[in-house]
């Protein structure tokens, strides 16, 4: 429809590929997201820890630097599974706060402004809408978690040699999978809360609450029942178990309580973490619940029954 003619005409040109249309949502959302200077600064600062890790890896292989520093960096900070697990934990924590900043307003704004019919009257399904909204969080968090994590792994492999790479390729999959599980969980939770809580601040508070309140609840259960099974309600513990399981540092028995009577041990209770499969299963349940919440709310029109 040429401006000069100002007459209605159909569009006869090429169409964009169907599979990539969900990416339209994050591409347009980032214009708004990065308008916030606070967020942009926080996003930039989230690359500090990967930079520090890169420097540490470099120091491990720079003989002159070791000589200048006069410390055994290799013994102090070995580049092993624990190193990369720490990296994933730190970046995962930063990613959580990024998700709190970005996630809660994505769906709620569309629901408040009745925008969903505009999306769904087009060749654009509810699934694409949800995946598109999740992608906003997924892409941002990927950029600060597994992407620099894999770059660090490749840097270490480059400096150590091919044999180190071959022996430790499983760490790369642990970095990727561990980050991805956390990212998907955060994306689903933030979108589900955004769909049900319209006000942005309340949604952010709800996301923080969902993360921290069960932790307290879990501790109470653990203390009352002298167990660690309360951790199945604690997101931090669940994802921590998953990460340690992926990096091979998971330990089931973490302590024991002994009951003394007349100076003798009369009972011993071993505190064991729930098995790994329980942590994976709980995370899966949480994701499924979030998907169900989204399916209830993401509709063109809500029918009042």
């Amino acid at each position: 429809m040429a401006v000069l003619e100002r007459a209605y005409k159909q569009y006869q040109g090429p169409q964009s590929p169907l599979w990539s249309r969900f990416l339209i949502i994050p591409r347009h959302a980032y214009r708004d997201v990065f308008r916030s200077k606070i967020f942009t600064a926080f996003f930039a600062l989230s690359f500090i820890w990967p930079l520090v890790c890169a420097i540490l890896i470099y120091l491990h292989h720079n003989v002159e630097a070791i000589a200048v520093l006069k410390i055994n960096v290799r013994a102090l900070l070995p580049i092993d599974a624990g190193f990369f697990e720490t990296y994933v934990i730190v970046q995962g924590t930063i990613g959580f706060f990024l998700a709190v900043l970005v996630g809660p307003q994505q769906v709620s704004r569309d629901l408040t402004n009745n925008a969903l019919p505009l999306y769904l009257c087009r060749p654009f399904t509810r699934s694409e809408y949800v995946v598109g909204k999740m992608s906003i969080v997924v892409i941002l968090l990927s950029a600060i978690t597994w992407v620099p994590g894999l770059i660090l792994f490749l840097l270490q492999s480059y400096l150590e040699g091919w044999s180190w790479f071959a022996d430790n390729i499983w760490m790369a999959s642990a970095i990727f999978l561990g980050s991805l599980v956390w990212i998907v969980l955060l994306a689903l939770m933030s979108q589900a809360i955004s769909a049900w809580v319209k006000w942005r601040l309340a949604a952010r508070a709800a996301l923080l609450g969902v993360f921290f309140i069960p932790t307290i609840f879990a501790q109470v259960i653990n203390e009352i029942f002298q167990t660690r099974w309360g951790h199945i309600f604690d997101l931090r513990a669940l994802i921590g178990n998953v990460w340690s399981g992926l990096f091979g540092t998971f330990v089931r028995q973490v302590g024991e309580d002994r009951e003394f009577r007349n100076g003798r041990i009369v009972a011993t209770v071993f505190r064991t973490e729930p098995p790994l499969w329980a942590s994976w299963f709980m995370l899966f349940l949480i994701c499924a619940f979030c998907l169900w919440l989204l399916s209830r709310k993401v509709k063109a029109y809500e029918v009042v029954k």
């Binding site: 209605y8 964009s16 249309r21 347009h28 505009l118 769904l120 063109a300």
Partner: protein
């Protein structure tokens, strides 16, 4: 005129052999509450009007055709594509202007329309170009870089129209397009709708409770009441028909007079105690009416020409629809 239960077909085809919209015993229920009941018909017009009182099911019909609600039974076809099986294909051919305020927050107008165009499948560069064109077309060219949050109600209506047409759909659903518009803005909106209709590039379905809007823009109308199709009327045929409509004000007993007029082959309806509406058929003249009135001892106090307006059709449909379920209607 066909009644609501019969299949309705307009022989004036606009697009090949198949209709724009075909309703095939379409029923929609929300839970146990039936909203649309066995709608049947084939619509071919360039502009189709959807009328009805509040709660008649107009918006539900549009939403069902858009795929927002699944049909409970029956189906419908748009450009020969079934709404149950070919929803994605249908959605690539249609545009929708919702009744309620709908926009995406914190976006400029051109950004919003471009975003909608991209979601409809246009590549980014084409989407941007057409967004600018669409906004100039609807009259928002100068305001296109402003945030939608700052727009007046009338401007938001135009923005909604722009996003509905930016991707050049073949069928455009307009739900109460003149809502909240002042008279000059309403005139502009009606003119744009007529321009789109007359371009021949798109068909329009206009849902409104404002009879003037529908009368000015549409060629076919459907009137819904309580989820049923109570009237189908082809306004184009009505306008072209060379019929004389007479409105009589009389004194005297009308029974014999009405029988005599019917025997003459003319349609006759008593609208009140002393008022009659007569449709003169070919061959009958006004002097015949006077003659029959004299023979029946009826005084004709006033005689005027009156073509059935859409308001008459609508009011009769509401009256007939409330008396019986499938009452026959006056207009043909």
């Amino acid at each position: 005129m066909t009644d609501s239960a019969a299949a309705v077909t307009n022989p004036q085809a606009n697009s090949g052999s198949s209709g724009v919209i075909t309703l095939d015993n379409l029923s929609v229920s929300f839970g146990r509450r039936p909203i649309l009941k066995n709608l049947r018909g084939e619509l071919r017009g360039r502009a189709i009007g959807l009328l009805g009182p509040n709660g008649a099911g107009k918006t539900t019909l549009i939403h069902t055709l858009l795929g927002f609600h699944p049909p409970t039974s029956g189906t419908a076809r748009i450009f020969d594509r079934d709404i149950r099986g070919d929803a994605a294909q249908i959605k690539s051919l249609i545009g929708y202007m919702p009744e309620r305020d709908s926009f995406i927050a914190r976006m400029s107008c051109v950004h919003f329309v471009r975003f909608m165009a991209e979601l409809s499948g246009l590549p980014p560069s084409a989407a941007l170009e057409r967004a600018h064109e669409a906004l100039f077309f609807v009259g928002l060219g100068e305001a296109r870089y402003r945030n939608l949050d700052t727009f007046s109600l009338g401007m938001k209506q135009l923005a909604k129209l722009a996003q509905a047409i930016v991707h050049g759909p073949r069928l455009i659903f307009l739900d109460e397009p003149t809502n909240g518009l002042d008279p000059p803005a309403r005139q502009r909106m009606i003119k744009m709708i007529r321009d789109i209709r007359d371009s021949g590039q798109a068909n329009i379905v206009l849902s409104s409770h404002l009879l003037r809007d529908v009368e000015e823009c549409c060629e076919e109308i459907l009137i819904l009441k309580d989820g049923r199709l109570v009237v189908y009327c082809n306004l184009e045929e009505e306008r072209k028909a060379n019929k004389k409509f007479l409105m009589l004000e009389t004194r005297g007993d009308l029974k014999e007079f009405v029988t005599a007029v019917n025997a003459l082959g003319c349609e006759c309806a008593v609208t009140s105690d002393h008022r009659l509406k007569i449709i003169l058929q070919a061959g009958a003249e006004i002097r015949d009416i006077y003659r029959l009135a004299a023979e029946s001892q009826v005084q004709i106090r006033r005689l005027t020409y009156k073509r059935d307006s859409l308001e008459d059709i609508f009011l009769k449909a509401m009256e007939n629809g409330s008396q019986t379920g499938d009452a026959p209607l006056l207009s043909s």
